[in-house]
C-alpha cells in the first residue's frame, strides 16, 4: 500500500472508530419507537391488520406467500399469527421507545416489524423502509444505553455519560440524504419540472387518494403551489450535497473560500428550514401515515449529540445534564458534526 493510500485508510479507520455521547442516537431511538408504535397501533385500531396481513381463508383481502422467515416459521398469514404478532410488535415498539432490553429488543423489533409489513406487499410504504432501516442502525449502535430504562436499571441514572460508536449515526445521515436525492431523481413526471409548469403539488392536492380534506382551494393559490413544487424538487435533488458541508467542517484546517464560509454558516439549518415545513405541510394536508414523523426523526442524526444537548438546553433553559461524554473536538474546538 502506498503512503497516500495508507494515510487515507488510516483516516477512514479513525473516522469509523469515533465515539460520541449515547444520548444523540437515544433521542433518535425514541422517535423511531414512537413512529413504529403509531404505524402498528393505527393498523390494529382500523382493523386493517386482519384485512391486509391475513389470507382470504381467515377473512383477509388477498392471498400472498409469506415473504419473511418469521412469518413463514410461525405458520403464514393466518388470523391467529397476525393477531399474536401485532401485540408483540406494539410491545416491542414500547420497549424501543423506553430503551428496555438493549440490542436483543432492537433486533426483535426490526424482525417483527418486517414480518408484519411484508405480509401485505401491496400496501407497504416508504415509511416502513425508513423504520426498518432505523431499527437496524440503532441495533448496530446499541442505542439503548442512554435515555433509557436500561440505563436507569443498570446505572441508576437516565442519562449516564456513555459513549457509543458514531458511525451508525453517520450512516443514518447518509441514508436520509440519499432517500431525498433519489426520491427527487425519481420524480420524472413533467409536472415536477419547468416543462410541466411546476404544477406537481397542485395535482397532488387535487387527487382524492392522499388528501385529508378538500384542497380545491389550492387552485386560488396556484402560484404558491408552483413555488413549493420547485423548492421541494430542487431541495430533494440537492440533499446529498449536504455531505459537502460535513466534509468541509471535517477539513476546516484546509484552505478555500467555500470551506471557510461553511465554518461560519451552518447549512444544516437551511436544510432543516425547508425540510421541517415540508414535512409539517405533508402531515397537515396529506395522510401518508408516519412518513413525516420517521423522516423528521432522522433529522436528529444531523447534529452531534453535544450540539443537540446545547440546542436542547438553549430551548429549555436548563442546566447541563447529559453532555459529559467525550466527543472528539473539531478543528475549532467544538464537536465534529
Amino acid at each position: 500500500m502506498s503512503g497516500a493510500l495508507r494515510r487515507r485508510w488510516a483516516a477512514l479507520v479513525a473516522l469509523c472508530g469515533r465515539r460520541e455521547p449515547a444520548h444523540g442516537l437515544a433521542l433518535f431511538r425514541i422517535a423511531v419507537g414512537l413512529s413504529m408504535l403509531y404505524a402498528l397501533i393505527s393498523m390494529a385500531w382500523s382493523g386493517l391488520d386482519q384485512v391486509f396481513w391475513v389470507d382470504t381463508a381467515d377473512g383477509g383481502m388477498f392471498d400472498h406467500r409469506p415473504d419473511h422467515w418469521l412469518l413463514a416459521a410461525l405458520g403464514g398469514r393466518t388470523a391467529a399469527v397476525i393477531g399474536g404478532l401485532v401485540p408483540v410488535g406494539i410491545g416491542l415498539a414500547v420497549c424501543v421507545t423506553l430503551g428496555l432490553g438493549g440490542r436483543p429488543v432492537l433486533l426483535c423489533a426490526g424482525q417483527v416489524y418486517q414480518a408484519l409489513v411484508r405480509a401485505g406487499p401491496l400496501v407497504t410504504g416508504g415509511y416502513d423502509l425508513l423504520i426498518g432501516d432505523a431499527l437496524w442502525l440503532l441495533l448496530l449502535a446499541g442505542a439503548s444505553r442512554s435515555l433509557s430504562l436500561d440505563a436507569r436499571i443498570r446505572r441508576g441514572t437516565w442519562a449516564p455519560a456513555i459513549d457509543i460508536a458514531a458511525w451508525p449515526r453517520y450512516l443514518a445521515i447518509f441514508q436520509i440524504l440519499t432517500v431525498y436525492t433519489t426520491t427527487g431523481l425519481h420524480k420524472q413526471g413533467p409536472p415536477w419540472t419547468p416543462i410541466g409548469g411546476f404544477s406537481a403539488l397542485y395535482w397532488v392536492f387535487q387527487e382524492p387518494t392522499w388528501r385529508r380534506f378538500d384542497l380545491s382551494f389550492t387552485a386560488s393559490v396556484y402560484p404558491l403551489t408552483q413555488i413549493a413544487t420547485a423548492v421541494t424538487w430542487l431541495w430533494e435533488i440537492s440533499a446529498l450535497l449536504l455531505l459537502v458541508f460535513y466534509y468541509y467542517r471535517e477539513t476546516a484546517e484546509r484552505p478555500g473560500r467555500i470551506r471557510a464560509w461553511m465554518q461560519r454558516r451552518d447549512l444544516r439549518v437551511a436544510f432543516v428550514a425547508i425540510g421541517v415545513p415540508l414535512h409539517l405541510g405533508i402531515l397537515i394536508l396529506l395522510n401518508v401515515g408516519p412518513f413525516s414523523l420517521i423522516s423528521l426523526a432522522y433529522y436528529l442524526c444531523l447534529w452531534h449529540p453535544d450540539e443537540l444537548a446545547r440546542g436542547g438546553r438553549r430551548l429549555l433553559r436548563v442546566t447541563p445534564a447529559v453532555d459529559k461524554g467525550g466527543a472528539a473536538p473539531a478543528a475549532d474546538g467544538g464537536p465534529r458534526p
Binding site: W9, V13, C16, G17, S42, M43, W45, S46, G47, L48, F52, G60, M61, F62, W69, G110, Y113, L122, V123, G125, G126, L129, G132, D133, W136, L137, W167, Y170, L171, F174, Q175, T178, V179, T182, T183, K187, Q188, G189, P190, W192, I195, G196, S199, A200, L201, W203, V204, Q206, E207, P208, T209, W210, F213, T218, A219, S220, N287, V288, G289, F291
Partner: protein, 238 residues
C-alpha cells in the same frame, strides 16, 4: 465476573484477539458495505422499471406525450409511444445492470430489514379513480362509501387509513384485475355483513381527470365515469 465466565473468555482468547485487532479495519468494510447498499438499492429496481401496468396507465401515457412534445420543441421528433418504446428498451438494458450490481446486497437487505428505494409522488396522478361502494335495499341503490363524502361514510376510519388509501390509489395508477376483483369481493362481503337487509352490493371505480386551476377557480368540478362495475348478490356471498 464469575470464574466460569472468565475461563470461557480465556479459552476464546486465541480466536478473539486477532479479531479484536482486525476489527477497526473490518469496521471500515462494514460501513463501506452499508454505504454501497444504500446507493445501489436506491436505483430503480427491475421490477419497478419493467412493470407493464405502470407503463399503460393514463398518467404515464400523458407524461410520455408531454416529454415527447418537449423533445419535439428542441428538434427531436418522436411520438409518445415511440418514446415509450425507446425507454422500455433502455429499462430492459438497465435492469440487467441493476440486477447484477444489487446481487451482493439483496439477501442481506432482506434478512436484516435494511432496505432502500421508493418513488414518492414520482408523477402526480392526474387521472385518479375513487373506489365506490353502493348498496341495494328495498329495490333502490344508495351510496355506501365514497372518499371524502360525509353522506357515504361507511367504515370511514378503516378506509381513511393510509394503507387502504395506497391500495385504492394504486387502482388508478396501475389497474390489475387480479387485485381489483378480490378487493371488490371483500368490500361486498363486509358491506353485506354490516347491512343484513341489503340484497345486492355494487363496487365500481369512478374515474375522472383532475381539472387545471383555472377551471377549478370558476367552480367547475371533475365529471367522471364509472367503470369496472362488480355486482354481488346477498345469496352468493352469505
Amino acid at each position: 465476573m464469575t470464574g466460569r465466565r472468565r475461563s470461557l473468555r480465556g479459552a476464546a482468547a486465541p480466536l478473539l484477539d486477532p479479531l479484536r485487532r482486525l476489527w477497526p479495519s473490518l469496521r471500515v468494510l462494514v460501513v463501506g458495505y452499508h454505504l454501497a447498499l444504500i446507493v445501489v438499492l436506491s436505483l430503480p429496481s427491475a421490477d419497478a422499471m419493467l412493470h407493464r401496468p405502470n407503463w399503460e396507465s393514463a398518467n404515464t401515457k400523458a407524461d410520455l406525450a408531454h416529454w415527447a412534445a418537449a423533445l419535439g420543441r428542441v428538434g427531436v421528433e418522436m411520438t409518445g409511444p415511440e418514446l415509450a418504446d425507446r425507454l422500455w428498451r433502455t429499462a430492459e438494458a438497465l435492469s440487467g445492470v441493476q440486477g447484477a450490481i444489487s446481487r451482493p446486497f439483496v439477501d442481506f437487505s432482506r434478512i436484516v430489514g435494511f432496505r432502500q428505494g421508493w418513488a414518492m409522488f414520482a408523477s402526480p396522478q392526474r387521472h385518479p379513480v375513487e373506489l365506490h361502494v353502493d348498496l341495494e335495499e328495498g329495490g333502490a341503490w344508495r351510496p355506501l362509501s365514497r372518499p371524502h363524502d360525509d353522506a357515504a361514510a361507511w367504515r370511514r376510519a378503516t378506509f381513511e387509513h393510509n394503507r387502504y388509501r395506497k391500495l385504492a390509489g394504486s387502482l388508478g395508477r396501475r389497474f390489475q384485475r387480479r387485485y381489483y376483483d378480490p378487493i371488490a369481493r371483500w368490500l361486498a362481503r363486509e358491506a353485506l355483513a354490516d347491512h343484513p337487509g341489503a340484497t345486492r352490493v355494487r363496487v365500481q371505480l369512478h374515474a375522472y381527470t383532475s381539472l387545471p386551476p383555472e377551471r377549478v377557480r370558476v367552480g367547475e368540478r371533475p365529471r367522471g365515469v364509472d367503470r369496472e362495475v362488480r355486482i354481488f348478490t346477498a345469496e352468493e356471498l352469505r
